[in-house]
Homo-oligomer: 348 residues x 4
């Protein structure tokens, strides 16, 4: 039986990636795509690269009732706030929902409202929503009607630090995540700041100390480690299309060498199909995960300074967004977790 | 039954792409990879992005006997001249061979030797080798033991011009192909000229009037059109990873409008799974075929000047090399032509 | 005596380049900058790289009277149509004007109106305006009150072909200019099409057969050659910041070899400080003129096809815009032609 | 009187930048360039962008005697170890020397030998050599015969942290410098790892915990602060040509707000022509210093975490190498410190 899927907000990059990934998913058919801007036009008018595939579907305006009639599962690739407006109706109509916005990630309503600057209008669903990082939260995702797909930076940071946090090996009050993202992370809206001419051959930090992914990282590391985490989070913009590299600085509670740490990670992530622990002497490169659902991780203890440096790399649009969303859907529907997601990285 | 495939010369970019594509091919298993430089090491030592896949195979030195023992089909991703040294042994041992070098593309030995500057040591096989552009030469490929996989530029140029040449609609003596390629086309050898610092944010022509793909384009257009073709071919280097755009200038024998020409192309390429004729007003972009086996084509007659401009875009490593090679293998082995090749373009 | 200069429309890229170049000009002081968007703010709010220089000047709204009070010369880096609205007043007030828009480039009002789609409201000035390509039109520029600074593509194309056109060596009815430009040529307005994520790692043609620079190239080649020129002009977008490479295809009336042609060009451009004829075997690269007012030119006759390929490279924002404008101002004011313009190319 | 300058090792990127900068220096003439690889050829054979300038000089093999005959000052843009072999002879012959290698930066011979893995053969000169960061060490530079030009990363890190270290405001035992560099920092040798195809559209860390610039940063911060500094230094490779951004994490001994810190920096760097303290809300971008000798600095205290984030941006080839070298020469020779260095940033 083929699952019928909707992509709500299909004309952004995560929508396009959902369309691309689901086109190759053996158990799923995309039967419904929405876009206000391209309503009445085929999705390929917005994304010519997808011509001849699911993108020949005509975009419709957002309408939960219609979606419910045509689909079993909905991916909400909508802006935050818009998402919380439509999710309740989708759930009421019996759909499973993977929400790629931030609306159901933050467990404390007040924290959400402070960082996102809007009132939460569907806060009764926050508790129910499963946080959608399968490697760290698989069972709740399996049971969920609603999954909150994680932010791209939080995915990279959590996968880098989860084994240490879960095992209590680091001081969660002293964590620095210096993260770097390709420009697709900034979305597809026309803005001067993300023009090619403004961004190419330049590198900068942004939202230092104020980025909305900080509380998300802290929430989940706190949950894993059972103690309040404080994360210094600095995002940077890299002149490249895809990829996040997180350079994490922590202090180990007790000394450990690199091989012992790698062994710990290999054990913690045993059987995880998308996590690759790099061997000694090999560091992650975002180019080596581009186009795939992988997360590559390396551990480098520095005996001069007493710190541990953990590096992780993901494709922000796949493991950091649409790939994770499909992985979550697979779990929610009882499909094989890797279905549709085994495409290898595209390098160079 | 699973086909066992060898990749000879696996540590270059086309080798890596073969490994990636074949990893996802449902009917094929890569059982043998060779590399002189990485002999004794897993292929992933050269290509960490492929870790956890076929790339965990250990590279062996080139040895046709061993290859023949382990495999049913061999992809030669070797430098020209090296290839002609090993292909005869592979064929003798009963393998099917797709040769990605230039060694069996040029039908006239003297032309080959003049342009490539080496003696052809397996010239008895030239006539037998099928030129591996499936859209233009499918039946011979199906019958062949040996397929000469086309050059990347010739693929873009021929697919752009084939319908016009085959129907006798243009003067083949007056053809200009102004082509632009991403840097992966220059290979993986360490050269100052292709360092990031030399190439980024710069654009240049190279090998003007002297590039080896010129006689290949002329040979095939002549064959298709039944008259001697003369092609002014100018390659350029674009500061991007993948992609070829060919801008072709021809003169129509008789006036025609854009829609009639598009209709001609749609008819000529009817049922071709990888050719997409762009609708009016939409021009090809190499980014829209990146990571896929597609070729996008547009036709723009210019009534001011009386010329027709034909644009085509491919991914040079896929439709221009490894994807085409797998397509050829599928045909040679009687598999579905699109097996393993349906991955959509990765944009952005 | 210091010349006082105005930059009208200073918040675009050509405005910023004017500010940068004039900051280093020993005879000129920028005393007035306008920008509607940044009115009341220092220019450095728009261009932080210029902080600590002329960019600490506060932007004012466009106002010809004010400009005339404060300045001796005005650079109009305004959109076409806006420019023709203000230039007459500037001239009436006694200023010299270099207009970087297209408004005074096209000598036939009807041609301008057809290609630009607007009525020309200052057409009495068209005849008076000197076309501002100093290498080809130096004396009229020296005498002019108003100079029409050439388009970026036309500069590259004309400098490539002028000696051949002027000497009657080519058939001007059979000229192809296949040109490639960096993204800064598309300006600074926020558009989806020029976002980094849309443009990076991709290559495309645009405005095939319909670009407004075609009639400008034809007009000037016709004037130089004394016969009607027909130019097939195809612009392409390169994923790089700066630079235009023009690949020009022509047919020589009589055979000539490369060295004779280079000698012809060296003679034609003798004493030109910004033109560099490449020696045999060396082809232009936009990276080698980046940041400078140079134009590099190479000539490659192709004896196989009978055509001549001429390549030229410029920095589109300097020799293709703001550098040429300063060169024109120097001529108009009787200053040394290279004043402020001797900065060498920035490579890599 | 014109100063005669030599560039030893002129065929690398820092050599080319010296040639470019000195071409525009009003008091200096380059009279001698050396390159083993290009000996007998004009420097423009290696760097065509410099054609028509100083680069028409013919390269000679390295020979201290010849250099001494022709020049007053020598810039050694040689590899470390090679430099220490020639510097003593240059000094003996009475030249002033700016050494761009690492050979005289590290004050403790043993530390140098440990990190660079070679014996120091001119260690008697180490004490005499002035560390060439003018903003922090101007007077010794003025008096010096030999200046050790700083590393690119150490320049960015020290300028970011010097006021805090000098005033004792931070714990120098807890400093993290997460630094990112463009690819030109990796030099011009042909290596697979820095090919365009390996580097573009990818981001990675390298030499984590083992980079040779760590002890240099620690040495100078220790000297400034009068206490042993321990610096966690992580370099990263950015897919861009030029630029270093250093993201520094420190803990203030006492709370302070952003404006107080900016005021402290403005005071500390008062009268420094090349340091720009960014106003509140504005963060450095390497694109805004490209092509200039500037260093842009921002300070962001994070009250959530109690840390201070300091960001600095330089052009690694200019303020991080050749521009600083010319600034040092100006000081050593009593010329105006900014002579030849006032060229503004080239953006975009």
């Amino acid at each position: 039986m083929t699952i019928r899927a909707a992509i709500l907000g299909a004309s952004g990059y995560t929508g396009a990636e959902l369309a691309r990934i689901l086109s190759g998913h053996p158990d799923v058919e995309v039967t419904h795509v929405t876009s206000e801007r391209y309503a009445g036009q085929p999705l390929s008018a917005s994304f010519p690269h997808l011509r001849g595939s699911v993108a020949d579907l005509v975009c419709e305006p957002l309408d939960a009732v219609k979606t419910a009639q045509k689909c079993d599962v909905a991916f909400c690739a909508l802006p935050h706030k818009t998402s919380m407006g439509v999710v309740p109706d989708l759930l009421d109509a019996g759909l499973k929902v993977v929400d790629l916005s931030a609306d159901f990630r933050i467990k404390e309503k007040a924290v959400y409202e402070e960082w996102y600057g809007v009132e939460h209008t569907a806060s009764d669903l926050i508790a129910e929503a499963a946080y959608g990082l399968p490697e760290l939260n698989r069972d709740p995702i399996r049971q969920a009607r609603l999954v909150a797909n994680p932010g791209c930076y939080p995915t990279a940071a959590q996968l880098a630090l989860a084994p240490l946090a879960a095992k209590g090996l680091i001081d969660l009050g002293d964590v620095i995540v210096d993260a770097k993202s390709g420009v697709t992370g900034a979305g597809r809206s026309a803005k001067q700041a993300t023009l090619y001419s403004e961004v190419a051959d330049g590198f900068k930090a942004y939202s230092v100390g104020t980025h909305r992914h900080a509380p998300e990282i802290e929430q989940e590391l706190s949950r894993l480690g059972g103690q309040a985490a404080s994360v210094q989070f600095t995002p940077h913009l890299v002149p490249q299309l895809r990829g996040i590299l997180a350079t994490c600085y922590v202090r180990l509670q007790e000394k450990s060498d690199g091989e012992a740490l790698r062994e710990l990670y290999r054990a913690y992530y045993r059987d995880e199909p998308f996590i690759r622990i790099m061997p000694e002497g090999r560091l992650p490169n975002t180019a080596w995960v581009r186009g795939s659902n992988h997360c590559d991780i390396a551990l480098i203890p520095d005996f001069r300074t007493g710190r541990l440096v953990v590096l992780s790399a993901i494709d922000n649009l796949i493991k950091g967004a649409s790939g994770a969303a499909v992985q979550n859907m697979n779990l929610m529907l009882g499909l094989g977790e890797t279905r549709g997601l085994l495409q290898g990285p595209l390098f160079p």
